[in-house]
Protein backbone atom coordinates (compact mmCIF):
# COMPACT_ATOMS: atom_id res chain seq x y z
CA UNK A 1 0.00 0.00 0.00
CA UNK A 2 1.20 3.45 -0.87
CA UNK A 3 0.20 4.85 2.50
CA UNK A 4 2.74 2.71 4.29
CA UNK A 5 5.65 4.56 2.77
CA UNK A 6 4.10 7.97 3.38
CA UNK A 7 4.02 10.03 6.53
CA UNK A 8 0.62 9.38 8.06
CA UNK A 9 -0.19 13.08 8.22
CA UNK A 10 0.71 13.78 4.63
CA UNK A 11 -1.12 13.14 1.42
CA UNK A 12 0.72 10.85 -0.99
CA UNK A 13 2.94 12.24 -3.69
CA UNK A 14 1.85 12.13 -7.34
CA UNK A 15 3.82 12.57 -10.54
CA UNK A 16 2.17 14.80 -13.11
CA UNK A 17 2.38 14.40 -16.88
CA UNK A 18 1.02 17.10 -19.17
CA UNK A 19 0.24 17.00 -22.87
CA UNK A 20 0.84 20.47 -24.22
CA UNK A 21 -1.31 19.99 -27.33
CA UNK A 22 -3.20 17.28 -29.12
CA UNK A 23 -0.88 14.87 -30.89
CA UNK A 24 2.14 15.44 -28.67
CA UNK A 25 3.31 13.14 -25.89
CA UNK A 26 2.55 13.62 -22.24
CA UNK A 27 5.69 15.01 -20.61
CA UNK A 28 6.66 14.88 -16.97
CA UNK A 29 5.81 18.27 -15.47
CA UNK A 30 6.56 17.74 -11.79
CA UNK A 31 4.98 16.33 -8.69
CA UNK A 32 2.45 17.33 -6.05
CA UNK A 33 0.54 16.10 -3.02
CA UNK A 34 -3.10 15.00 -3.17
CA UNK A 35 -5.44 12.71 -1.26
CA UNK A 36 -6.53 10.74 -4.33
CA UNK A 37 -6.34 10.68 -8.11
CA UNK A 38 -9.26 13.03 -8.62
CA UNK A 39 -7.72 15.66 -6.37
CA UNK A 40 -4.32 15.08 -7.97
CA UNK A 41 -5.73 15.95 -11.39
CA UNK A 42 -7.39 19.07 -10.05
CA UNK A 43 -4.30 20.14 -8.19
CA UNK A 44 -2.25 19.52 -11.32
CA UNK A 45 -4.67 21.69 -13.26
CA UNK A 46 -4.14 24.51 -10.78
CA UNK A 47 -0.41 24.10 -10.28
CA UNK A 48 0.82 23.18 -13.76
CA UNK A 49 -1.67 24.47 -16.37
CA UNK A 50 -2.30 28.03 -15.23
CA UNK A 51 -0.44 29.52 -18.19
CA UNK A 52 -2.05 27.41 -20.89
CA UNK A 53 0.57 24.65 -20.67
CA UNK A 54 -1.72 21.75 -21.34
CA UNK A 55 -4.75 20.05 -22.83
CA UNK A 56 -4.49 16.73 -21.00
CA UNK A 57 -3.21 15.57 -17.63
CA UNK A 58 -2.01 12.19 -16.37
CA UNK A 59 -1.23 11.56 -12.74
CA UNK A 60 0.54 8.54 -11.29
CA UNK A 61 1.15 7.94 -7.65
CA UNK A 62 4.88 8.26 -7.21
CA UNK A 63 5.19 4.95 -5.39
CA UNK A 64 3.93 3.20 -8.51
CA UNK A 65 6.87 4.36 -10.56
CA UNK A 66 9.77 1.93 -10.73
CA UNK A 67 13.03 3.49 -11.77
CA UNK A 68 16.33 2.14 -13.00
CA UNK A 69 19.25 2.32 -10.60
CA UNK A 70 21.76 5.07 -11.48
CA UNK A 71 24.46 2.66 -10.28
CA UNK A 72 23.60 0.33 -13.16
CA UNK A 73 24.11 3.06 -15.75
CA UNK A 74 27.38 1.62 -17.09
CA UNK A 75 26.07 -1.86 -17.72
CA UNK A 76 22.74 -0.60 -19.05
CA UNK A 77 23.77 2.18 -21.42
CA UNK A 78 27.48 2.08 -22.22
CA UNK A 79 27.35 -1.06 -24.41
CA UNK A 80 25.33 0.97 -26.93
CA UNK A 81 28.20 3.44 -27.39
CA UNK A 82 30.19 1.36 -29.89
CA UNK A 83 27.27 -0.07 -31.84
CA UNK A 84 27.20 2.64 -34.48
CA UNK A 85 25.58 0.26 -36.95
CA UNK A 86 22.39 0.66 -34.96
CA UNK A 87 22.06 4.19 -36.32
CA UNK A 88 20.66 4.64 -39.82
CA UNK A 89 23.49 7.07 -40.60
CA UNK A 90 25.91 4.10 -40.51
CA UNK A 91 24.67 2.86 -43.86
CA UNK A 92 25.52 4.25 -47.29
CA UNK A 93 22.48 4.69 -49.41
CA UNK A 94 22.62 3.47 -53.03
CA UNK A 95 22.26 6.35 -55.48
CA UNK A 96 19.10 4.78 -56.81
CA UNK A 97 17.31 5.61 -53.56
CA UNK A 98 16.20 9.21 -53.68
CA UNK A 99 14.51 11.47 -51.17
CA UNK A 100 15.27 9.39 -48.09
Amino acid sequence: MAQQTTNKNEWPLWEVFIRSKAGLDHKHAGSLHAADAEMAIENARDVYTRRMEGVSIWVVESTNIHASDPGDAESLYDPANDKIYRHPTFYNLPDAVKYM
Partner: protein, 275 residues
Protein backbone atom coordinates in the same frame (compact mmCIF):
# COMPACT_ATOMS: atom_id res chain seq x y z
CA UNK B 1 -35.77 53.85 -10.88
CA UNK B 2 -35.15 54.29 -14.61
CA UNK B 3 -33.81 51.51 -16.78
CA UNK B 4 -30.20 52.60 -17.00
CA UNK B 5 -29.88 53.21 -13.27
CA UNK B 6 -31.37 49.78 -12.59
CA UNK B 7 -28.95 48.14 -15.02
CA UNK B 8 -26.06 50.02 -13.41
CA UNK B 9 -27.04 48.92 -9.94
CA UNK B 10 -27.52 45.34 -11.11
CA UNK B 11 -24.12 45.28 -12.83
CA UNK B 12 -22.47 46.80 -9.77
CA UNK B 13 -23.91 44.14 -7.54
CA UNK B 14 -22.58 41.33 -9.71
CA UNK B 15 -19.20 43.05 -9.70
CA UNK B 16 -19.25 43.59 -5.93
CA UNK B 17 -20.09 39.92 -5.33
CA UNK B 18 -17.04 38.96 -7.35
CA UNK B 19 -14.69 41.48 -5.76
CA UNK B 20 -15.66 40.69 -2.19
CA UNK B 21 -15.66 36.90 -2.56
CA UNK B 22 -12.41 37.14 -4.50
CA UNK B 23 -10.93 39.18 -1.67
CA UNK B 24 -12.12 36.70 0.93
CA UNK B 25 -10.61 33.77 -0.96
CA UNK B 26 -7.37 35.69 -1.51
CA UNK B 27 -7.02 35.93 2.26
CA UNK B 28 -6.05 32.24 2.13
CA UNK B 29 -3.04 33.07 -0.03
CA UNK B 30 0.00 31.88 1.90
CA UNK B 31 -2.24 30.31 4.57
CA UNK B 32 -3.74 27.35 2.70
CA UNK B 33 -3.62 23.94 4.39
CA UNK B 34 -1.39 22.65 1.61
CA UNK B 35 0.51 24.36 -1.21
CA UNK B 36 -1.65 22.89 -3.98
CA UNK B 37 -4.91 24.08 -2.39
CA UNK B 38 -3.39 27.45 -1.66
CA UNK B 39 -2.81 27.82 -5.40
CA UNK B 40 -6.27 26.45 -6.24
CA UNK B 41 -7.97 29.08 -4.08
CA UNK B 42 -5.77 31.88 -5.38
CA UNK B 43 -6.68 30.86 -8.94
CA UNK B 44 -10.35 30.96 -8.03
CA UNK B 45 -9.93 34.32 -6.32
CA UNK B 46 -8.43 35.68 -9.54
CA UNK B 47 -11.36 34.31 -11.55
CA UNK B 48 -13.78 36.22 -9.33
CA UNK B 49 -11.65 39.34 -9.52
CA UNK B 50 -11.33 39.08 -13.28
CA UNK B 51 -15.10 38.86 -13.66
CA UNK B 52 -15.51 41.79 -11.28
CA UNK B 53 -13.16 43.91 -13.40
CA UNK B 54 -15.13 43.31 -16.59
CA UNK B 55 -18.33 44.20 -14.75
CA UNK B 56 -16.86 47.33 -13.15
CA UNK B 57 -15.63 48.54 -16.53
CA UNK B 58 -19.12 48.11 -17.90
CA UNK B 59 -20.65 49.76 -14.83
CA UNK B 60 -18.29 52.73 -15.16
CA UNK B 61 -19.29 53.15 -18.80
CA UNK B 62 -22.98 53.03 -17.81
CA UNK B 63 -22.43 55.59 -15.06
CA UNK B 64 -20.52 57.99 -17.30
CA UNK B 65 -23.44 58.20 -19.73
CA UNK B 66 -26.07 58.94 -17.05
CA UNK B 67 -27.65 62.42 -17.10
CA UNK B 68 -25.74 64.84 -14.84
CA UNK B 69 -28.62 65.02 -12.36
CA UNK B 70 -28.54 61.24 -11.88
CA UNK B 71 -24.75 61.16 -11.57
CA UNK B 72 -24.90 63.66 -8.73
CA UNK B 73 -27.20 61.47 -6.65
CA UNK B 74 -26.42 57.88 -7.63
CA UNK B 75 -23.64 57.36 -5.07
CA UNK B 76 -23.34 58.92 -1.65
CA UNK B 77 -19.70 58.04 -0.96
CA UNK B 78 -17.85 61.30 -0.36
CA UNK B 79 -14.61 60.47 -2.17
CA UNK B 80 -16.38 59.18 -5.26
CA UNK B 81 -18.86 62.08 -5.32
CA UNK B 82 -15.96 64.54 -5.21
CA UNK B 83 -14.59 63.07 -8.45
CA UNK B 84 -18.03 63.07 -10.02
CA UNK B 85 -18.72 66.70 -9.05
CA UNK B 86 -15.42 67.74 -10.60
CA UNK B 87 -16.69 66.32 -13.88
CA UNK B 88 -14.16 63.46 -14.08
CA UNK B 89 -15.25 60.30 -15.90
CA UNK B 90 -15.00 57.43 -13.41
CA UNK B 91 -13.35 54.06 -14.07
CA UNK B 92 -13.24 50.55 -12.58
CA UNK B 93 -10.71 51.57 -9.91
CA UNK B 94 -12.86 54.46 -8.71
CA UNK B 95 -15.76 52.05 -8.25
CA UNK B 96 -13.68 49.54 -6.31
CA UNK B 97 -11.64 51.93 -4.19
CA UNK B 98 -13.76 55.03 -3.64
CA UNK B 99 -17.14 53.64 -2.66
CA UNK B 100 -17.99 53.28 1.00
CA UNK B 101 -19.80 50.25 2.40
CA UNK B 102 -23.34 51.56 1.89
CA UNK B 103 -22.69 51.96 -1.85
CA UNK B 104 -21.58 48.33 -2.06
CA UNK B 105 -24.35 45.99 -3.23
CA UNK B 106 -22.88 42.52 -2.71
CA UNK B 107 -24.95 39.84 -1.00
CA UNK B 108 -24.12 39.25 2.65
CA UNK B 109 -23.02 35.66 2.01
CA UNK B 110 -19.80 36.66 0.24
CA UNK B 111 -18.61 38.93 3.03
CA UNK B 112 -18.85 36.21 5.70
CA UNK B 113 -15.40 35.52 7.18
CA UNK B 114 -13.31 32.50 6.18
CA UNK B 115 -13.36 31.02 9.72
CA UNK B 116 -11.98 27.63 8.72
CA UNK B 117 -11.75 25.40 5.65
CA UNK B 118 -15.30 24.10 6.11
CA UNK B 119 -16.82 27.62 6.20
CA UNK B 120 -14.79 28.64 3.20
CA UNK B 121 -15.95 25.57 1.29
CA UNK B 122 -19.61 25.97 2.33
CA UNK B 123 -19.69 29.66 1.39
CA UNK B 124 -18.14 28.94 -2.01
CA UNK B 125 -20.39 25.94 -2.58
CA UNK B 126 -23.61 27.88 -1.97
CA UNK B 127 -22.42 30.72 -4.15
CA UNK B 128 -20.93 28.54 -6.92
CA UNK B 129 -24.12 26.48 -7.14
CA UNK B 130 -26.09 29.72 -7.52
CA UNK B 131 -23.62 31.10 -10.07
CA UNK B 132 -23.79 27.98 -12.21
CA UNK B 133 -27.54 28.52 -12.65
CA UNK B 134 -27.43 32.30 -12.72
CA UNK B 135 -24.79 32.74 -15.40
CA UNK B 136 -26.40 30.13 -17.61
CA UNK B 137 -29.52 32.32 -17.65
CA UNK B 138 -27.60 35.57 -17.89
CA UNK B 139 -25.82 34.29 -21.00
CA UNK B 140 -29.23 34.64 -22.71
CA UNK B 141 -29.60 38.26 -21.59
CA UNK B 142 -30.78 41.00 -23.96
CA UNK B 143 -27.80 43.01 -22.80
CA UNK B 144 -24.87 41.97 -24.98
CA UNK B 145 -22.17 43.01 -22.52
CA UNK B 146 -23.66 41.06 -19.64
CA UNK B 147 -24.36 38.07 -21.88
CA UNK B 148 -20.73 38.02 -23.04
CA UNK B 149 -19.38 38.26 -19.49
CA UNK B 150 -21.76 35.49 -18.42
CA UNK B 151 -20.66 33.24 -21.27
CA UNK B 152 -17.01 33.61 -20.27
CA UNK B 153 -17.78 33.14 -16.58
CA UNK B 154 -19.65 29.89 -17.06
CA UNK B 155 -16.51 27.87 -17.70
CA UNK B 156 -14.84 29.26 -14.60
CA UNK B 157 -17.94 28.73 -12.51
CA UNK B 158 -18.19 25.10 -13.62
CA UNK B 159 -14.73 24.49 -12.21
CA UNK B 160 -15.44 26.46 -9.02
CA UNK B 161 -18.52 24.35 -8.38
CA UNK B 162 -16.59 21.16 -9.00
CA UNK B 163 -13.95 22.23 -6.48
CA UNK B 164 -16.38 23.29 -3.76
CA UNK B 165 -18.71 20.30 -4.28
CA UNK B 166 -15.83 17.87 -3.94
CA UNK B 167 -14.55 19.49 -0.77
CA UNK B 168 -18.07 19.47 0.62
CA UNK B 169 -18.13 15.69 0.08
CA UNK B 170 -14.58 15.14 1.34
CA UNK B 171 -15.22 16.94 4.59
CA UNK B 172 -18.84 15.84 4.99
CA UNK B 173 -18.12 12.19 4.33
CA UNK B 174 -14.72 12.33 6.02
CA UNK B 175 -13.82 11.93 9.67
CA UNK B 176 -16.18 12.56 12.59
CA UNK B 177 -14.59 15.94 13.16
CA UNK B 178 -14.65 17.08 9.52
CA UNK B 179 -18.27 15.89 9.27
CA UNK B 180 -19.32 17.88 12.34
CA UNK B 181 -17.48 21.03 11.27
CA UNK B 182 -18.81 20.90 7.72
CA UNK B 183 -22.37 20.51 9.03
CA UNK B 184 -21.87 23.42 11.41
CA UNK B 185 -20.62 25.66 8.61
CA UNK B 186 -23.61 24.71 6.46
CA UNK B 187 -26.06 25.34 9.28
CA UNK B 188 -24.62 28.75 10.07
CA UNK B 189 -24.31 29.98 6.49
CA UNK B 190 -27.71 28.70 5.43
CA UNK B 191 -29.44 31.85 6.64
CA UNK B 192 -27.36 33.86 4.14
CA UNK B 193 -28.44 31.85 1.08
CA UNK B 194 -31.97 33.30 0.88
CA UNK B 195 -30.72 36.69 -0.27
CA UNK B 196 -29.35 35.19 -3.47
CA UNK B 197 -32.93 34.70 -4.64
CA UNK B 198 -34.59 37.91 -3.46
CA UNK B 199 -35.72 40.47 -6.00
CA UNK B 200 -35.03 44.12 -5.22
CA UNK B 201 -36.12 47.06 -7.42
CA UNK B 202 -33.12 46.74 -9.71
CA UNK B 203 -33.68 42.99 -10.13
CA UNK B 204 -37.33 43.53 -11.01
CA UNK B 205 -36.52 46.35 -13.46
CA UNK B 206 -33.86 44.40 -15.38
CA UNK B 207 -35.99 41.24 -15.39
CA UNK B 208 -38.81 43.23 -16.99
CA UNK B 209 -36.43 44.33 -19.77
CA UNK B 210 -35.26 40.79 -20.51
CA UNK B 211 -31.80 41.64 -19.19
CA UNK B 212 -32.13 39.91 -15.85
CA UNK B 213 -34.29 37.07 -14.64
CA UNK B 214 -36.67 35.90 -11.96
CA UNK B 215 -34.17 34.90 -9.29
CA UNK B 216 -36.79 33.23 -7.10
CA UNK B 217 -37.40 30.78 -9.94
CA UNK B 218 -33.79 29.58 -9.67
CA UNK B 219 -34.17 28.47 -6.06
CA UNK B 220 -35.84 25.07 -6.61
CA UNK B 221 -33.05 24.12 -9.06
CA UNK B 222 -30.45 25.41 -6.63
CA UNK B 223 -31.88 23.34 -3.82
CA UNK B 224 -31.86 20.24 -6.03
CA UNK B 225 -28.21 20.85 -6.88
CA UNK B 226 -27.34 21.37 -3.22
CA UNK B 227 -29.34 18.31 -2.15
CA UNK B 228 -27.48 16.12 -4.62
CA UNK B 229 -24.11 17.07 -3.16
CA UNK B 230 -25.37 17.00 0.44
CA UNK B 231 -26.63 13.50 -0.15
CA UNK B 232 -23.18 12.32 -1.21
CA UNK B 233 -21.57 14.34 1.57
CA UNK B 234 -23.93 12.87 4.21
CA UNK B 235 -24.88 16.42 5.17
CA UNK B 236 -28.33 17.31 6.45
CA UNK B 237 -30.14 20.11 4.59
CA UNK B 238 -31.05 22.83 7.11
CA UNK B 239 -34.71 23.73 7.40
CA UNK B 240 -35.74 26.95 5.68
CA UNK B 241 -36.13 29.58 8.36
CA UNK B 242 -35.58 33.31 8.57
CA UNK B 243 -32.99 34.61 6.11
CA UNK B 244 -30.64 37.59 6.35
CA UNK B 245 -31.04 40.25 3.66
CA UNK B 246 -29.85 43.81 3.08
CA UNK B 247 -26.58 43.55 1.18
CA UNK B 248 -28.23 44.15 -2.19
CA UNK B 249 -29.59 47.44 -0.85
CA UNK B 250 -26.35 48.54 0.79
CA UNK B 251 -27.06 47.36 4.35
CA UNK B 252 -24.11 45.18 5.31
CA UNK B 253 -22.72 43.25 8.23
CA UNK B 254 -19.81 44.71 10.17
CA UNK B 255 -17.40 42.52 8.18
CA UNK B 256 -17.64 44.56 4.99
CA UNK B 257 -16.10 47.60 6.69
CA UNK B 258 -13.01 45.63 7.64
CA UNK B 259 -12.70 44.17 4.15
CA UNK B 260 -12.92 47.61 2.56
CA UNK B 261 -10.46 49.10 5.06
CA UNK B 262 -7.87 46.58 3.96
CA UNK B 263 -8.80 46.66 0.29
CA UNK B 264 -9.01 50.45 -0.07
CA UNK B 265 -6.41 51.76 2.36
CA UNK B 266 -3.57 52.39 -0.05
CA UNK B 267 -5.71 54.20 -2.64
CA UNK B 268 -7.39 56.29 0.04
CA UNK B 269 -4.09 57.23 1.71
CA UNK B 270 -2.21 57.81 -1.56
CA UNK B 271 -4.86 58.73 -4.15
CA UNK B 272 -4.10 57.71 -7.70
CA UNK B 273 -0.96 55.81 -6.68
CA UNK B 274 0.20 53.16 -9.14
CA UNK B 275 2.80 50.44 -8.79
Amino acid sequence: MNDQKALLQYTLRLADDGLILGHRLSEWCGHGPILEQDIALTNTALDHLGRARSLYQYAAALFNTLPEADKATFFTSVSLQKEVSEGTAIDEDDLAYLRDGWDYRNVLLVERPNEDWAYTVARSFFYDAFNSLFFKELAKSNDESLAAIAEKSLKEVTYHLRWSSEWCVRLGDGTDESHARMQQAINELWAYTGELFTMNDADAAVAAQGIGMDLAALRPQWKELVALVFDEATMAMPADAWMHTGGKDGRHTEYLGYILAELQFVQRAYPGMEW
